[in-house]
Amino acid sequence: MQSEKHITPPRWADRFLAFYCREEFLEEIAGDTHELFEVRLEHSGRRIASLLFIWDVFRFFRWSNLKSTDRSNINQLIMVKNNFKIATRSLIKHKFYTGINLLGISLGIACFILTYLYVQHELSYDEFHTKKDRLYRVWVHEFDEGDEYFEGVVPMVLIDHMENDFPEIDHAAQMNAVLGRYKTPDGTQLTTMIDMVGVDFLQMFDFPLIAGSLEGVLDSPEDIVLTESEAIRRLGTTDVIGKTIQYELRGKNTEFVVSGLVNDVPDNSSLEFVALISDTNKKKLVHEQSLTSWFNFSTELYVLLNEENNVPALEEKFTGMVKTGMGEDYEEGTFIVYLQPLTDMYFNKQIAGDTPTGDINTVRILGLVGFVILLLAGINFVNLSVGQSMSRAKEVGVRKVMGAFKRQLTYQFLTESVLLTLVAAVLGLVISYLLLPTFNDFSGKSLELTFDVPLIQALVFSVLFTGVLSGLYPAFVLSSFNPSKVLKGAFTGRKGKNGLAYSLIVVQYVAAIFFVSTAVIMKNQMQYISKLDMGFNKEAKVHFTLPAAKSETNRMGARMEANEQQAKVFLSELQQLTSIEKMTASNNYFGDRGWVRLGYEDRQEKEHFFHYNHVDENFLDVFDIEVIQGQGFKEATPHLRETGLVVNEAFIKEHGIENPIGHKLDGEKFPDHQIIGVVKDFNFASLREEITPLILSMNAEMVFKGIYSIEVNQALKSTVLAKVDLNSIDKLKEEIGAIWEERFAEPFELGFLDAKIERLYEQEKRNDAMVSLIALLAVIIASLGLLGLVALTVQNKFKEIGIRKVLGASAFSIIKMLNKTFLGPIAIALLLSLPLTWFAMQSWLDNFAYHININPVHFLVAGAVIFITTLVVASYQSVRAAVTNPVDTLRYE
């Protein structure tokens, strides 16, 4: 063993101490720490003593113990201090311009922070999984009858193959959602989605267990893993391991034992769950047919590849798997299995799965907009600095004569702009904090302003960007003034017409006009949509959906009929209510998630698709839908009610039917039926889409017998739609509620049809609101810039105005002269932004099948808005200048 004397504290720590510590204290500090080290060495051993020594050395790292910096540094420090002082003084002296700059830049920064947070959040989807590079979603490219499908939801049969056939796949997990019902202690029934996964799931993804052990956590059918918030909601505590919890799954009350607890799934995760149960339950919860069929697309499937991570090679092997798996059903090239990177899922709208998707274009546009607004704010600063250069020129001259180098002056001006931006950043932070709730409303996100990496990135970037960029011009141009000229007085102002300032103003106004006219066009379109005659009357309608009725068979037609019967009974009880004028019940209604879409094959084996709604005899009447040929159901004989179809104009047009009444569909399997009436086209979906062929019937079974493809967007339930007297709506609500409670256990919810239809355009409304806000910001910033510029122009022309007035100019002509200087740039900006807006808005409007045409009026309105704000802003200054007594301005000559 070594003798104690040779054991010394860590050398680097000792050196660090010597490096930073003042000479005069070094000896005592080093002495004391070494002494302590020796004592501790005896008591607690080398490791502890060394650690404590390092700790002590760091604790001694305080201001009072630090070596003072050397001389040249001190000089620099003094200059920085001086620059800082001059900057503060100059900013305070020009309160007006400082205020304008501050307001503009802080608005710009606030806007940038918000958009940055949004963009960052969208781009961070699924990035938190440590194995994200090797995680893939399995999807199927399916070809069928000339149509191709991108299926993000795949057959459940695939997982066994994935797990067993391929050594390249480390783990595979499918995620099947099952609806779980439960009762709260006060008796209300609630539902939650419960996901069925294998234990692999928790090994693949980063949803770490915070209680319970990974070993066997989802092995038995009783096991359940809860998220924290679900644990608190259901069991009131997070200490839940081993506790039992009940859910009603597929109509059966099932008891689970909590075996694990995970943190809540982060906002930016495509995979969402609140409770996980073991996939050993699948035999119980999933139809046998779903488990074995290759054509039942019902589960999300994810795989983790091994380190080689060779996707193309693996995808090639899948062909063999499909071939042997399907056997004789296999058809070359119709069913191709691919892998999609997990991180690609969020922005990929082509492959349809159950996970949320985002819009990369929105992200790009918003990011760009945030940047543009920041740029606009920066432009203000440059413009005002240029404008102020007159008064600053003398300062620069004097400084140069006194021996200042150009570099020092550059630093001085940069200090000024960075200082201003720093203050603006604080203000911008406050503004963005205030705007955040509104912004969240618009964007549909729940972003928070927390001091984490993204926010700090946004702040640092915006401060550096605006601070340096906007400081560059004044810093380099002002500092290069020739002192002899400036001081002689030859430098009387800017030469020419101020090209830079005005071109920058044009840039600002291009942006401002672009945003304003975009907002005008969007508003116009939304108005157009809400006022458009949809072909049915939505006024004074209420809707409420009845629970699904019990049906003897699981066939859709039968289920619709059962719902219909139940609705009929309910409607007859509502007859007594006098404030209901007329009512109907149907399977789909306006503003719901989409009407049933069916397909049949004609005798030439050609496929035809149509939308379908199962209605009662009053449907057409309640919505004032016009029958243009034949008859509606109301007037029809009982036999025709049973066998009749009512179609829309689009249907006749698509099929080229000349005499529709009595016409039969060309499908073999349809039982006795005929078209009894044709209605005028009405919009049963959103106005984004054209009106498509539609069939209405009172007999669902008849239609379903003849079709072979079904697309359903929501649970099959009957909805009652009633035209009511809106004056007594509260009383009516209670009355219906009372009747409801006698029959159903579910809560009664009554909605207004027009509000429901409005909700179809929520995303557009949000965009519209967001653009309006951005337009407002852009106009404010541009106006601020103009305000400053006009003020400077007026200031520089003070004498000229005085002389003009003495020579007899009227106040009006002077206002005219001043306003003319900036109306030119605005006109140019208007012209420049026109094609830009036209292009952008045309592609937005193309999203709607029914849209307005872009019209010169839109630009006139936008131009007028800009023009009037500008005039108001500018006139304040020009009027003040025009009414000044020339004596005041000329006195000093």
């Binding site: 204290f25 000896e27 005592e28 500090i29 080093a30 002495g31 004391d32 720490t33 070494h34 002494e35 302590l36 020796e38 700790w55 002590d56 604790r59 001694f60 305080r62 009072s64 113990n65």
Partner: protein
Amino acid sequence: MKGTQLGEFEELVLLTVGALYDEAYGVAVMDEIKNETKRSVNISAIHSALRRLEEKGFVKSRMGGATNERGGRRKRYFVLTSYGKKALDDAQSLRMKLYNRIPNMSFGN
């Protein structure tokens, strides 16, 4: 009088310097405080306190002779000045004055 107030920790250090009389240097003061108050203090805190006290004139210091045990480095010894003694006296008497005004009655339960 700004700068001559005695903080609680400063007073403790000042008292310890007084109590240790001629043996008061950083580590010794720290050990003494640890022993008497059972409170854990970092050596750097002691140094700062001592330096502040010296600036205020409550203690003065001198460097001792070379030693063997700490790599030959000298120790800085602190002694109480009369001004420091007076500051302690003042603090003490203020405390006693207030203490004596506590009425003599039974407390608590």
